[in-house]
């Protein structure tokens, strides 16, 4: 079968594309390069322009400005049927009047492939997505997960240059979603195509992607590997959208070692600088992951300390999430592994939070 691991990946290059609907700017000056074989995820809140960008890549929407190249060839104005991209739509868009087999055979039929080849490739594609016994059924006779697989097989059967997926799992329940995430990753490794994957589920983005592109309000805010974006986000938006963050704001007072001291509302903190140290007197924002904070006993050593009162807590099986009202920094949420937390903190209890200078993340406000 030609579909396994032998397809050379194709490079896609998007440069400075914009799209306006009426007076509304849905995509603003986005540039993006996708390497052959990469699993790229576009992540962003609803209405941030992910689908519009994907539709421009697929050729359904024409950009007002900018250009798109595939392997250095301009494809900006090519109609969708000439691009040879596989696409899985939100809601799958299977053809309701065609059987599973005919759905998957569709791209080959419109390419006028010989019968025997169609037969063979459809079979292989259905095997690839583990759906071999139901090929005579109609889409409405299948479960959501099975329909999803048919859509995948249909998008892969004609060995496309790359695969575009618009929230392909959002209609499925949590367990099935996790299962299909695994399978999509396996499939990606196996076929070696670039996948461009749209989602607004941050866990999905973190667990599946080689690279994540975060979009907000039509702009590309930040991109990087999952761990780059999670551990060292550059912007407050990403720090808060990808996982949750607390924010501590203040002015730089002095430089120490590889970091700086800043104070907000009378409380002093030390923080390791991201690159160059910010100038004395400049405003800084530091993002703190709830799981990087801990409750420290009075008198113990800690780079930063902040006292507060427990407002509320919730139990999540593996962890407690505690909301602490602090003096100077407002409510701060802390997550404590349930197995070390011992007794649950009590509402109204005073305590001290601590974190190391390396735990915080210096970020830019939007």
């Amino acid at each position: 079968m030609t579909m396994t691991a032998t397809i050379p990946g194709h490079d896609l290059s998007i440069s400075r594309v914009s799209k306006t609907f009426g007076t509304f700017k849905a995509v603003k000056d986005v540039s993006l390069d996708i390497k052959g074989g990469e699993f790229l995820t576009m992540l962003g809140p609803s209405g941030s322009g992910k689908t519009t960008l994907l539709m421009m890549i697929a050729g359904f929407v024409q950009p007002d400005q900018g250009s798109i190249h595939l392997d250095k060839q301009p494809i900006t104005h090519l109609p969708p049927e000439s691009r040879n991209f596989g696409m899985v739509f939100q809601g799958y868009a299977l053809f309701p009047h065609l059987s599973v087999f005919d759905n998957v055979a569709f791209p080959l039929k419109v390419r006028r492939r010989p019968r025997a080849e169609i037969e063979e490739k459809v079979k292989a594609a259905l095997e690839l997505v583990k759906l071999t016994t139901q090929s005579e059924r109609l889409p409405r006779q299948l479960s959501g997960g099975q329909q999803q697989r048919v859509a995948l097989a249909r998008a892969l059967v004609f060995t496309p240059h790359l695969l575009l997926l618009d929230e392909p799992l959002s209609a499925l329940d949590k367990k099935l979603r996790a299962e299909l995430q695994e399978e999509l990753k396996r499939l990606h490794r196996k076929v070696g195509l670039s996948f461009i994957y749209v989602t607004h589920d941050q866990d999905e983005a973190l667990s599946m992607s080689d690279r994540i592109v975060v979009m907000s309000d039509g702009r590309l805010v930040e991109q990087g590997t999952p761990s780059e974006l999670y551990d060292r986000p550059r912007t407050a938006f990403v720090a808060d959208f990808l996982g949750k963050s607390n924010f501590v704001r203040g002015k730089v007072e002095s430089h120490v070692g590889d970091g700086f001291v800043f104070s907000g509302d009378g409380v002093r903190f030390v923080q390791k600088a991201r690159d160059a140290k910010p100038g004395i007197g400049s405003k800084v924002t530091v993002a703190l992951r709830p799981e990087k904070l801990s409750i420290v006993a009075p008198g113990t050593e800690s780079d930063n300390r902040l006292s507060g009162v427990v407002r509320e807590w919730n139990y999540f099986g593996s962890e407690f999430r505690v909301l602490v009202d602090t003096a100077g920094c407002g409510p701060i949420s802390v997550s404590l592994p349930a197995w070390t937390a011992g007794n649950a903190p009590e509402v109204g209890q005073s305590l001290e939070l601590g974190w190391s200078a390396r735990a915080g993340m210096e970020v830019q406000e939007a």
């Binding site: 697929a58 050729g59 359904f60 109609p79 969708p80 049927e81 040879n84 991209f85 596989g86 696409m87 739509f89 809601g91 868009a93 299977l94 053809f95 309701p96 009047h97 569709f106 791209p107 039929k109 419109v110 390419r111 249909r154 998008a155 004609f158």
Partner: protein, 293 residues
């Protein structure tokens, strides 16, 4: 099923309104009575007359096999109805396609254009066509002024005229079922077809057209049934030369007074339409076609 509490309540209530069933029957009784007296009974009489007038027996039905003029008339009726249906559907499909693909604002205006003719009397419309189509009419004088033809075309007092008038009348009946079916087609399926390599035409041919067929089938049977029994337009635009079944029946009753033949033909029409409706109901959801559900 009725819950125990429910039945207890109805036992305690007035005997007359004992069950919801009785209540509903009472409510629709006047309407049923009206239907029975003015609709079911006359139809029954017609069917009865077709086998009893002038003498009991199937003599009237024998005419179907023996009378050349009746056969010719039935053939004309069938031919005109089939052609009307075909032309109506071709036009209706194009209009419905344009309707579903236009913006809501344009759609509203187009709908008005489709529906307004429905509110204008069929008589007025036939006369309007008469004004347009006659030898000295607008269309012929325009064609001759521009030099397309030298002598006026005969567009009226023949089957062409009848069909123009009928297609015009039937158009909304063709458009509405097709439109309501097309509106339910998932546009993403068409986009998916394009994305998977189908050209515009192929996406239409392989996906849109098959998905719109139920509407087309429904519309065609609807239009065909209406065409079969059409009276005013053929009578006015056919000029007495194009005799369809409805006018033939009228002539039998009012002019030659052969009630038996007339009622036999009416019965035949009734049976044909009944069979077509039965076929239609197997193919598409009738309630949806006629706007309910």
């Amino acid at each position: 099923m009725t819950a125990p509490a429910d039945s207890a309540r109805s036992r305690a209530g007035l005997g007359l309104f004992a069950s919801p069933q009785t209540r509903y029957w009472l409510l629709i009784a006047p309407a049923l009575l009206l239907m029975g007296v003015f609709y079911i009974y006359p139809i029954g009489r017609v069917l009865w007359m077709s086998v009893t007038v002038p003498a009991p027996g199937l003599d009237n039905y024998e005419l179907l096999a023996s009378s050349a003029s009746i056969q010719r008339m039935l053939w004309t009726t069938a031919r005109i109805s089939v052609l009307t249906t075909i032309f109506t559907l071709l036009l209706a499909y194009v209009v419905a396609y344009a309707l579903v693909h236009s913006s809501p604002r344009v759609q509203r205006w187009m709908f008005l254009g489709v529906l307004v003719p429905l509110w204008i009397s069929v008589l007025v419309r036939a006369f309007a066509w008469f004004v347009l189509l006659r030898r000295e009419g607008l269309i012929n004088s325009a064609l001759m002024a521009t030099g397309v033809t030298d002598s006026p075309l005969s567009l009226i007092w023949n089957e062409t005229g009848v069909m123009i008038g009928m297609v015009h009348y039937m158009l909304p009946l063709g458009i509405l079922p097709i439109f309501s079916n097309m509106r339910d087609i998932d546009q993403r399926c068409i986009a998916a077809a394009r994305g998977l390599g189908a050209s515009r035409f192929e996406a239409f041919w392989r996906v849109f057209l098959p998905l719109s067929l139920p509407g087309v089938v429904g519309a065609s049977i609807l239009v065909f049934i209406f065409s079969l029994g059409f009276f005013v337009t053929p009578a006015l635009l056919g000029g007495g030369k194009t005799l369809m079944i409805a006018e033939y029946i009228k002539v039998q009753i009012l002019e030659v007074v052969r009630w038996g033949v007339a009622s036999m033909l009416a019965a035949v029409l009734l049976i044909v339409i009944g069979v077509l409706l039965a076929a239609l109901s197997r193919l598409v959801n009738l309630r949806k076609l006629f706007g309910a559900g």
